[in-house]
Symmetry: D2
Subunit: 344 residues, 4 copies
Amino acid sequence: MNGLPGSPRLDFASDNHAEAHPAVLAALAAAAPGPAPAYGGDRWTAAAEAGLRDLAGPAAVPLLVFNGTAANVLGLSVLLGPGDAIICAEQSHFAVDECGAVEAMLGRKLLTAPAPDGKLTPAAVEAVLERCADVRTPRPSTVALTQATELGTCYTLRELADLRELCDRRGLRVYLDGARLANAVARLGCTVADIARFADALSLGFTKNGALGADALLLMAPGIAVRAPYLRRQQGQLASKMRFLAAQVGALLDGGLWLDNARHANTMADRLAAQLAPLPGLRLAQRVESNAVFVELPRAATDFLRPRWAFHLLPTGPARLMTSHATARADVDGLAEEVRRSLR
Amino acid sequence: MNGLPGSPRLDFASDNHAEAHPAVLAALAAAAPGPAPAYGGDRWTAAAEAGLRDLAGPAAVPLLVFNGTAANVLGLSVLLGPGDAIICAEQSHFAVDECGAVEAMLGRKLLTAPAPDGKLTPAAVEAVLERCADVRTPRPSTVALTQATELGTCYTLRELADLRELCDRRGLRVYLDGARLANAVARLGCTVADIARFADALSLGFTKNGALGADALLLMAPGIAVRAPYLRRQQGQLASKMRFLAAQVGALLDGGLWLDNARHANTMADRLAAQLAPLPGLRLAQRVESNAVFVELPRAATDFLRPRWAFHLLPTGPARLMTSHATARADVDGLAEEVRRSLR
Amino acid sequence: MNGLPGSPRLDFASDNHAEAHPAVLAALAAAAPGPAPAYGGDRWTAAAEAGLRDLAGPAAVPLLVFNGTAANVLGLSVLLGPGDAIICAEQSHFAVDECGAVEAMLGRKLLTAPAPDGKLTPAAVEAVLERCADVRTPRPSTVALTQATELGTCYTLRELADLRELCDRRGLRVYLDGARLANAVARLGCTVADIARFADALSLGFTKNGALGADALLLMAPGIAVRAPYLRRQQGQLASKMRFLAAQVGALLDGGLWLDNARHANTMADRLAAQLAPLPGLRLAQRVESNAVFVELPRAATDFLRPRWAFHLLPTGPARLMTSHATARADVDGLAEEVRRSLR
Amino acid sequence: MNGLPGSPRLDFASDNHAEAHPAVLAALAAAAPGPAPAYGGDRWTAAAEAGLRDLAGPAAVPLLVFNGTAANVLGLSVLLGPGDAIICAEQSHFAVDECGAVEAMLGRKLLTAPAPDGKLTPAAVEAVLERCADVRTPRPSTVALTQATELGTCYTLRELADLRELCDRRGLRVYLDGARLANAVARLGCTVADIARFADALSLGFTKNGALGADALLLMAPGIAVRAPYLRRQQGQLASKMRFLAAQVGALLDGGLWLDNARHANTMADRLAAQLAPLPGLRLAQRVESNAVFVELPRAATDFLRPRWAFHLLPTGPARLMTSHATARADVDGLAEEVRRSLR
């Protein structure tokens, strides 16, 4: 069930290719029978929201949505004042992968900063502020971070604190795209709350981490929650049968399955990186700090691997190898073996 | 599992309160294991799209989305030229229930027409055109119909043909909101294609008809499909793990389950109406042509029923009683009995 | 120079048809020679803004724009939070005359209330709030008034105070469309500040009152001005050669010309109404409280007048006769005479 | 009247700082007396539109607007299909100077290409198409050129033909920002039509070329004009007293004043460049092909000049010296002399 027969193996192409976790399916089956209030008035939603508050802090206001783009758009729409612009890393998912959703749905300009390792720095933010200092550019009011980043790296808590300090000083809000926040939490050995406290709003992704399709937005700043339920519906993200989003989230929160899943994915990435790093003629392009391995391969190696394994090649060169909750140790070892062969 | 203990019974409050069909859950479980291409490159999506073309015609281009608001916004965004406006019935779901999604996401003005039975007429459309004849009003370019309507009625094929003829003559496109199209097909004894051929784009709802959450947009007019995949992603409606939308749709298409479900819901509405209609002091407010019974009740009857059953009261007075694929004959008879008691 | 030869006389068709005041042209000629800073850094802009603060109060923040639609859109964009909706009278200019500018440029839904005399009442506002009480409708956050109204009437200061009190109580902001505010000020014998204090933002129109084309937005609520200059540019309303908007406003502010012009227009409307009111077979449809006379005429009279005079007929029946700063007494008497003839 | 006393001289800071041409003021005074139809039904508008068709070709559809941002937004809104994106040079005015107007008012993403001399090339356009080849990026459908460019250079007719050929081949439309088209026409010794035939829509600026504030949009592609009048009103760009935009345009078209003005500005730029080019320690950063001279100066020279003359410094270093219809020969020689002093 791995793509078409004879097609490349999908295992490391994307964590979006991964299967749904059996516990999630079981929870859906359990939630299905009988009528339940629509639009979030059900007990599964109440439980999932409570679980999310347990993670992020009692003042967090959680909203379930269908996917990560939706969480980003909803989160930014809550934070941005009229006409404001967003400062983000040039690789941000919503800057390059979401088909202009922020521009189209929110009418906002993205002010991008270079981020060679995927991470914004205070200096990079300051540089954007400096070049956007009059009405020729829309007013930057929100800095958007991604944790873990698009390049598989993680901001340390110290780095997040420094960025937050800058933002407070310059009157900027912080949005954090946490499509892979679980992997960052697993890597840093911290809690969701440890990261969430630096953000005014953040997403927490479940889709890539074992769900069929469900992500959460968490509103942290006081007073910003009043409009969010309206915006969610306006943006087409209010599930009528919300219990079926909530049951997925509930299953993953239950017993910390979300964290186990993320830890496993990270461990598989580490295992892969450990086997690849020593190989001559190959270079890890980024530090491995979540569930992604970016590796620069000789052209011949790439040509050898492409018909066998599906993976992305960045425009800048490196191959991206993603692991997930469902990645098997044997698959990692199998891929590493084929990379070794490709280099001969 | 019917709301909180002691709370009103939900059975007739909304078809969105209904359970998911077991066949849908089984299909999800079957689709879950192993990796699969993301974003619709999987075989479940291919199968669901083929099934939808079987229903609507070989030239139809289907796109799966998360819910009905999304299908409406996506469908309208494909049809509308720059700055164009929409003509619709005053009760249209996107005019009164979707929190201004069309205005917010598409920047469009809705030009509403009165529709006492939920159905637009050629005369009503002409009247809007007449009052919107210069640049003070945005140019109406698309007529949006709902089938079955918000008031539980159905356009006949003759009525649809007449509206289409008017629209062709006046250079207008036709969008059809088919959140409950299945119920209309079941009622009219026609096919989806019989209705779809009058529309340039239409939605086909599964969420209210047994799914957990999945709706389809069907593009019928030649040449309009090129932008739709971009718009779907831009609007936050591209499921990364699309197989889990597709498996739901596949399960409902399989063996005509979608039509069986709709037939059952309609039959239950008929059964309810048949028991209520003869009662003195009560009046059916609309013809029962799908899975909704609108009934005018004396105030005392309403007061008696409200603590026992959840149902909507229209601003204009009537109570709305919805049936679904999961409505049991005994529940219908039970409700009818309580209505009889309420009238004593 | 009154339309094409043989075409109907334009004098009472619209105050937008009126000539520019000679003092405005003189001011433009005086401002023209030599270089001056662009985008509002010039001394004419400084003077016009100072003059506007003299009218509206020292805390008012004025912004010049090209026309009334622009002032409305800019003013509302400053006041509305994400996704919020607007409560307004059904005849509001931006609801029926501005081609969906608010929907298109701001993505907002207008929640209209009936207003038989053009004026919103607290009860009408409350009724909208009641029918918009959950996420199915976008959150109303701003009430938009028009002073003088589209039907030529004026809110009294007492009525404005009552509406403001309601809005404060319900957490609503107030926008006031003052395209003809001068006429209201002249009628009420009050100051601009007397009205402006009830609004969070308001426009003050000069185009209909002697300018070539220039209107002002006045921001009254503390703290809302920071984004306005950005929004003005974003919305295409920042004049590069701002001195030529400012010189127009300056000329009209100078010596109270704006108020003299409005008084004259009002007086001409009164003179017209006084001659028409006693005529049998004719009825004033609205009280004459600014520079508009709405009059119900027999069909035969309308048919007699239409080839001779340009005027609007409301969909609801009455003819609209507008006066302006340039209306001559003899023209009023001439029109009145022809109306008398039309009724014979 | 050159800024504040003691402040730097404005003469070369921007063509937006230039005075209005006396012929324009005379035309306004002539158009002012008496009533005239609003919203473009007047004879000045008819004459200006006829004059614009004389320039651009009989099939051109002209629309007057208030400024260049408005013309860009309106022109792009006419050309772009739902969700489409725009390919443009990184320095495009609407990409960096218009406060995100395209994003905010049209919800569009700008796909920028490097253009060291301000000019897009077919190769640069192809490179954008290549990196935007799936739904992760909105569909590019329109290439936007600027003529003369932001860097004072001009596309040759050959270069425009090559870009048009590419766009035809790839199904792309062409928008041309002609805020300084007059200067390009003067430089190339061609006609407006010679350039306009390569565009589907283009703007023709008058504000920087002697008007108080008036620009034109010219629609060239057949069939695109139907929505433009609606969009103009929707975007707040329909002047109620249109005669006062039209009279400005008419005065500049009359006897080719627009071209004389542009020729003069170009000649002054040439004269300035001729004096600066031979100076040691100074480098012209761009070819001088319109009314701008970009020159790299030593830091000491810049420091010497800044308190005496207002001019822009690009982020990349060079100073921008703009000439206009009102630039005097003596001012050019005076500035050149001071630059010489600054280099000593």
